[in-house]
Subunit: 325 residues, 2 copies
DNA sequence: AATATCATGTCAACGGGTTGACACACCAAA
DNA sequence: TTTGGTGTGTCAACCCGTTGACATGATATT
C-alpha cells in the first residue's frame, strides 16, 4: 500500500527519525543524507501524511469557507480571491455552499469543527444561529454580523447606498424604488437600504422598498419585479441591491418596452468581473472584491496568530457609470 | 483545551471505549448511556476529531476539486453543484483554483495527496502533466483528457459545435468565424472547433479560428476581438466557444456600431444561469451543468467504491435561441 | 439452575508522523 | 588533549480515536 516514513527510512538506509528531520529540516543533516531521503521519496512515490502531522502539531492549516453559493459571481469571485490568498500562504480551503439555509449552515459549522479547521471565513449567515459566539475558533465574517466578538470585513455599504440613491436623484428620477435581498440575513448590506431611505427622506420623498425573500430564486425575483412595475407604473428609477437583480429588472423592463435610461434608470451593486463583461452598460456600485478577500484573509491569519483585535474593516466603494442611468 | 474522548468519558462516568461505541453506534448500548454520553458531549462542546478517525480508518471522505477559477460562472456553477452533491453524500471538498497554470496544478496535486483525499475531480488541465497516470487515486475529469485510464464527463461538444455552426448558416451568415480558448488545454471542447471546421468545409467555406491563448485575461480578449474585426470587416457570424467571449464580442461590436443580429450574428456556449440573467438575449449552446456535476460525482464515488469502469460520459446539449442570431 | 443476550469495562495495538532525551562517532580548532 | 560542533541512531511518549480480545455483571429465557 501507500509507503510510510518507515518505508522511506528503510529504502534510504537511514532511521525514521532522520527522514522526519529531513522533512522538517530540523537538526544537523548532511547533504548526502538529504539527497538519499529525497531520492527514496521519489522512488516510492511518497507523500507525507498530513493527517498524522496535523494531529500531532495540533494545527491543520485548513480554513473553512461558508458562503451561500459559488454560483453567484460575487461569491465566486470573492471565493476565488480568498482561496488564492490562503493558498499562497500555505493554507487549504474547505468549501461550503450554505444556500442561506439554517440547517446547512449549522451542519457545515459542525463539520468544520470536527475537521479541526484553524479558522473560518463566513459570508453567509442566518439570524439566530448563535453557535458562532461559543466557538473557540478564529472567525472572520464578510458582510455579516455574526456576533460582537467576530470582526466584519465589508465595503462601505452605507456610502454605496447613498451614492447610488443620489446618483439616481441627480439624473432626475422622480420616483425611485429600492429592491433588496432578504432582510433576515443579518448583513451590513442592509445599510444600503438605510442610506437609500435616509437620502429619500431628506429629499422629502417616500422610500419604497421591495424585499426578495429568496434572493437565489430566479422566477420569484421575476415575479416580484413585475409586481413592482404593476404597482408603480410611474417608477423611473430603481436601485437594485445587487447586479443580478438589476439585470433581471433590465430584462423585465425591456419586455415591457420601457426605454432605458430614458424612462427608467437602473443602478446595481457589486460590479463583478462577470457582470462587467456580460452587461458592461450597467451603472453600478463596485465593491473592491479582491481587497475584501485580502483583508478577510489577513484578519483571520492575525487572529490565528493569537491577536485579538476585533476591529471591523470597511473598504471603499466606487460608482461605475454606465448607460442604464 | 479542546476536550477529547477521555474527557467525555470522565464527564459522563463511562469508559472511553463506551464513548467510542456511542459515536460509532457499535455493540450493545443502553439508551441511558447514550443519553449520558450525548449530554456530556454537549456540556463540554465536544467535536470528535476527524483527523484521528480518518487516520485510523484510512479514509478521509475528502475530495479535491481542481478547476481554473470559481470566478468564471461556468465553473462557479459547476463547483456549486459538485460540492452540493458530495456534501449530501457525506463528503467534504477541498477547493483548488489552478488558473490553468502548470505549476499551480502540480502543487495542488501534491497537496491533495498529502492530505489523503479519497478522490479528485479535475476540470482543469495542462498538457504534459503526467502525474495523473501514475496516481493511485480515483480521479474523474470534466471536459479534459487527462490520460487513457481516467474517465471524462462532458457534454456533447461535437454536436454543440455542429449545431452552433449550422444555426449561423441557417440564419444566412456568409462569413462565420470561430473564437475559442487555448488549444493547449487538452479538452474535448476542442471538438467544438472540429465540428465548426467540418461543417464549414462541408459547405465549401473556409473556417477561420481565433485562439485566445489566455482565456482568463480580459484585456487580451478584447484585443483579439478587435483584431478579428479589423482583419475581417466582412464577418457576419461569430461562434464563441463560451458565453463570456460572446459577451465581449457583443460589447466590442456595439462599440463599433454594428447592428446585432442584422449585420452580425453571435452565438455563445455554456448557458450558465448568471449569463442567462445578465444577457438573456444571447443565443447559446447550453450545457447541462447540474447533470455534468452529478455524473462526475457518481463516477468518482463508483471508482472510490472499487469499480473500475472507465467509460466516458457524454451528456446532451441544447440550443437556446435568443436575439443575437 | 443453566444458558443466552445485553451492557459495560479494561487493555493494548494501531494509523503515521513528531519530538525530546540521550548516546555515540567523527572531525576540527584551541 | 580537551572542547565543541556536526551527523545520525535508538527509544519512548504523544496526538486522538478505533477496534478486537477478553472479562464481568445483570437480566431475561427456558
Amino acid at each position: 500500500m501507500k509507503p510510510n516514513i518507515k518505508d522511506i527510512a528503510r529504502h534510504a538506509g537511514v532511521s525514521p527519525t532522520t527522514v522526519s528531520r529531513v522533512l522538517n529540516n530540523r537538526g544537523y543533516l548532511s547533504q548526502k543524507t538529504k539527497d538519499k531521503v529525497h531520492q527514496a521519496m521519489k522512488d516510492l512515490n511518497y507523500f507525507p501524511n498530513e493527517l498524522a502531522r496535523s494531529l500531532f502539531k495540533q494545527k491543520t492549516n485548513l480554513i473553512g469557507l461558508i458562503f451561500p453559493t459559488t454560483s453567484n459571481p460575487f461569491f465566486g469571485e470573492l471565493i476565488f480571491h480568498i482561496e488564492n490568498s490562503f493558498s499562497s500562504k500555505g493554507y487549504k480551503v474547505l468549501l461550503c455552499n450554505s444556500l442561506n439555509r439554517v440547517d446547512k449552515e449549522m451542519a457545515y459549522l459542525d463539520m468544520l469543527q470536527r475537521n479541526q479547521v484553524d479558522g473560518i471565513v463566513v459570508g453567509a449567515h442566518n439570524r439566530h444561529i448563535r453557535q458562532y459566539e461559543s466557538m473557540h475558533l478564529p472567525v472572520v465574517a464578510i458582510d455579516r454580523n455574526l456576533s460582537d466578538s467576530i470582526p466584519v470585513v465589508s465595503s462601505d455599504n452605507y456610502l454605496g447606498g447613498k451614492i447610488a440613491t443620489e446618483h439616481l436623484l441627480n439624473k432626475g428620477c422622480q420616483k425611485i424604488i429600492h429592491i433588496n435581498g432578504p432582510h433576515e440575513l443579518e448583513t451590513p448590506a442592509n445599510k444600503r437600504r438605510e442610506a437609500y431611505e435616509e437620502v429619500m427622506m431628506k429629499e422629502d420623498r417616500s422610500p419604497i422598498t421591495y424585499e426578495l425573500r429568496e434572493s437565489l430564486n430566479k422566477n420569484y425575483t421575476k415575479t416580484v419585479i413585475n409586481q413592482l412595475f404593476d404597482e408603480h407604473p410611474d417608477v423611473d428609477g430603481i436601485f437594485a441591491s445587487d447586479d443580478l437583480i438589476a439585470a433581471a429588472v433590465i430584462s423585465e423592463a425591456k419586455k415591457r418596452g420601457m426605454n432605458i435610461p430614458k424612462e427608467l434608470k437602473i443602478i446595481g451593486y457589486d460590479g463583478t468581473e462577470s457582470v462587467k463583461t456580460c452587461l458592461p452598460e450597467l451603472t453600478t456600485i463596485q465593491q473592491p472584491i479582491q481587497a475584501i478577500a485580502q483583508s478577510a484573509v489577513n484578519v483571520l491569519i492575525q487572529q490565528m496568530g493569537g491577536e485579538k483585535s476585533i476591529e471591523n474593516i470597511v473598504l471603499p466603494i466606487q460608482l461605475i457609470k454606465g448607460f442604464t442611468t
